[in-house]
């Protein structure tokens, strides 16, 4: 008798102990047991084992368990705002300008406690002071971005006097943790400064590869891989309740019907293009814009999720349209929508920030926000600058890429009297000669200070350039500043050694003018291994000084990242 045959009957024996056999299986097992001494011994052994297990001593639960649970529940779930958002309530009344430093302020408040919020620090889920808190409250060594400065000065007026020296924190506000065995993975959202879990999310079929926190901190939008299907899925999880505002007119839109803790799937899309992985929140967190490309020629179109109604709406039906970013506030709540093609073009679509959404999907664009000859404009958080693409686009399978003369450009954002014009245009890469064969795509992100930006996964089809003939490289991360007249150059690549050997960059966030938070995929051995990614902070040094790399979480323990942070300029608006 073969080993496999024994294994089959051992499974039946095991199931029989819980009376979990069909009649046919029972008959089959009985017949086998009659002639198999080994399986009879297995039955006796398993039955004895079950008897031993069932006879384990019942231990009384601690008497204070109920009280402990009650304290935990009242310390967290009953509060209108989760603990990690409470400091924002406290500082919200100080007049704004604090969003850029919220993470660091939070760390200090939790460290010092505050008479204004007795709930902070109470309850079992409240974070305790830790070394990571101390680290996050330490001001960055270099000058922070301009947007952080007003926050720091206003923070000095706070009752929490120790906040006076707070500057932008290099740490992310949040990051994803996708951990567990390959067949039992769990997804959670972790608070960057403390390492505490903010939300646990039903695990998707693949790891998260892009994430954006809404400006009001209530929502986390993210893209996950959909197993090995070649598709991605866009999700939205509500991670916090709305913060009560002093001004009842702010925000001007209604609260969402979607409860805290709930996750909504926003659709599936062809994977593999950075143009499809952009998640764009409107300034106040009312709308999320994103793009879905259907496989097998189904077309690419832009979608917008309206938090007030808890529904997504397809806002284009061109089949070649991508969501860009939201336009400067002076132009109202308007979304740049880009159409791919030989001459890519971007339009504005106006939304109503106080109530209903846009006009009917596919309508002609509002005349006040005319077209520009650019693809997928990416506005800086403060609305002053824009990065966009130019060139000839063509379809590669189900996605569009640049096929001739493609390259990213930087310009000053349009102002209200001339919304269709990008002024002071210059190539993002200052030392790359753009010819017919050039970039097909790249991932680009702005920093919180609206000056720093990063480019990675640059797909270059032209003749290699640069000193070592490997430039631009898809394996390098280029870190530049809009205020740098040179633009990006080969020297702006962060150190090659910053990225773990063999790893590839999945996501980059620019948290200060000198810090990047990088998610890097570590190769795994096969489908039986859980995906793994390192999350780390790179402190950029110039000249011959090597960059500093600070691990946030190691891929040894699972997949960590992407990070998310509040890059909103909304809260700093007057």
């Amino acid at each position: 008798m073969s080993m496999n045959r024994h294994q089959h009957f051992e499974e039946l024996i095991s199931a029989s102990l819980a009376d979990d056999l069909s009649d046919a299986e029972r008959a089959q097992l009985d017949a086998h047991l009659d002639g198999c001494a080994a399986c009879r011994a297995t039955l006796a052994s398993f039955a004895e084992q079950r008897r031993i297990m069932a006879g384990l001593r019942h231990v009384a639960a601690p008497r204070d368990l109920g009280a402990r649970v009650r304290a935990g529940v009242e310390g967290g779930a009953f509060a209108p705002v989760p603990w990690w958002r409470r400091p924002a309530v406290m500082f919200g009344g100080l007049g704004g300008g604090l969003a850029a430093v919220a993470g660091a302020l939070l760390a200090i408040v939790l460290l010092n406690g505050s008479p204004e919020d007795p709930n902070v620090g109470l309850g079992s889920i409240s974070p305790a002071p830790s070394t990571s808190l101390t680290a996050s409250s330490t001001p960055a060594a270099e000058s922070p971005g301009p947007s952080a400065t007003p926050g720091a000065s206003e923070a000095a007026a706070s009752p929490s006097a120790s906040a006076a020296s707070v500057e932008a924190s290099p740490e992310p506000d949040l990051y994803f943790a996708y951990t567990g065995a390959f067949d039992n993975l769990a997804l959670s959202v972790v608070h960057g400064p403390t390492g505490e879990t903010i939300a646990e999310i039903e695990a998707p079929l693949g790891p998260p590869i892009a994430a954006e926190l809404s400006p009001d901190g209530q929502w986390l939008a993210y893209v996950t891989e959909l197993g090995q299907s070649g598709l991605n899925e866009v999700h939205l999880t509500r991670i916090a309740a709305r913060i009560p505002a002093d001004d009842p007119a702010d925000p001007p839109f209604a609260d969402s019907p979607i409860e805290v803790g709930r996750t909504v799937s926003l659709g599936r899309s062809v994977a593999g293009s950075p143009f499809l992985e952009r998640l764009a929140w409107s300034r106040r967190g009312h709308y999320l814009a994103y793009t879905l490309a259907a496989p097998e020629g189904g077309g690419t179109d832009a979608w917008v999720f309206d938090v007030t109604v808890g529904e997504a709406q397809q806002v284009t039906n061109f089949g070649d349209a991508y969501a860009g970013s939201w336009m400067p506030e002076s132009l109202g709540t308007s979304l740049w929508l880009s159409r791919a093609g030989e001459q890519p073009v971007s339009y504005g679509l106006q939304f109503n920030d106080s109530g209903g959404g846009p006009s009917e999907p596919g309508d002609e664009v509002n005349g006040s926000t005319a077209a520009v000859n650019a693809f997928q404009p990416l506005l800086s958080p403060d609305g002053s600058r824009v990065i966009y693409w130019k060139g000839v686009m063509g379809q590669a399978g189900d996605v569009w890429t640049f096929i001739e003369g493609g390259a990213p450009y930087l310009a000053d954002a349009p102002v209200d009297d001339n919304p269709s014009e990008f002024t002071n245009e210059r190539p993002l890469f200052g030392d790359v000669t753009i010819d017919r064969d050039a970039f097909t795509s790249a991932s680009i992100v702005w920093g919180a200070d609206s000056d720093a930006y990063a480019v990675w996964n640059a797909q270059w089809t032209g003749i290699p350039q640069g000193a070592n003939g490997e430039y631009p490289s898809p394996r390098r991360v280029y870190f530049g500043h809009a205020s740098d007249s040179r633009g990006l150059t080969e020297d702006h690549a962060i150190d090659e050694a910053d990225i773990p050997e063999g790893s590839s960059v999945v996501d980059v966030k620019v948290t200060t003018g000198r810090h990047l938070v990088i998610t890097a995929l570590r190769p795994v051995g096969g489908v039986m291994e859980a995906p793994a990614a390192d999350l780390f902070i790179v402190t950029r040094n110039t000249g011959r000084v090597a960059d500093d790399v600070t691990p946030v979480r190691s891929a040894d323990d699972g997949w960590f990242g992407p990070a998310a942070y509040d890059a909103s300029s909304e809260l700093s608006a007057p």
């Binding site: 819980a18 297990m53 649970v69 909504v264």
Partner: protein, 191 residues
């Protein structure tokens, strides 16, 4: 055109329920399940203090997720799933669990050796030896065996807790019994 993707909303189940209804539901849940969950977790983690912490966290999470329980969900399976995940998280934090596929070689768990006061109670001879044997199992084997033989759950309910198919549970349970058989033999408790 064909609209790509899908838009999906969860059906609100408790959105409009009054707070006191929620409270009553939770109180009932706690009364019925706090003791079994504590014992299950105790056997999972092997330490009374940590079991109390994990049980506490389990019910706090359950309270927050109460509105995700639907008619189709077995409340018991749902609660045990939360407890299981919380216990695994706890063990992972304490480096007692490695991420590894089911077919990897057996590794030895490092039991928490802090002797809490209740540990003395737990450490009656038979219990102690069975618990030691349990702690040598892979976490998913231990979990499956406890759910079956301690909690008397059916394969279907174990599947709900562990996120596995009925067939996978039967296979896993059989492997767990084989592993436990060897572990008990090492403790002199089985052939």
């Amino acid at each position: 055109m064909v609209v790509p993707g899908r838009v999906m909303w969860g059906e609100p189940t408790m959105t409009d329920r009054a707070a006191h209804a929620r409270e009553a539901e939770f109180a009932h849940l706690f009364e019925e399940f706090s003791s079994p969950i504590y014992n299950y977790v105790l056997r999972m983690v092997g330490d009374p203090d940590r079991a109390a912490d994990v049980t506490q966290d389990t019910f706090i999470k359950a309270y927050r997720k109460l509105d995700t329980v639907t008619e189709a969900t077995s409340t018991r399976s749902w609660l045990y799933r939360i407890a299981t995940n919380t216990a695994i998280d706890d063990m992972r934090r304490r480096r007692m669990v490695s991420v590894m596929p089911d077919d990897s070689p057996v590794f030895t768990n490092r039991a928490d050796d802090r002797p809490g006061p209740e540990a003395q109670v737990l450490a009656s001879t038979l219990d102690d030896r069975v618990q030691r044997a349990l702690m040598t199992l892979r976490p998913n084997h231990r979990q499956c065996l406890l759910l079956s033989d301690l909690e008397d759950m059916s394969a279907q309910h174990i599947g709900e807790v562990m996120g596995l198919s009925y067939a996978a549970v039967r296979t896993l349970l059989c492997r767990a019994r084989g592993e436990m058989r060897r572990a008990l033999a090492a403790e002199g408790l089985a052939r």
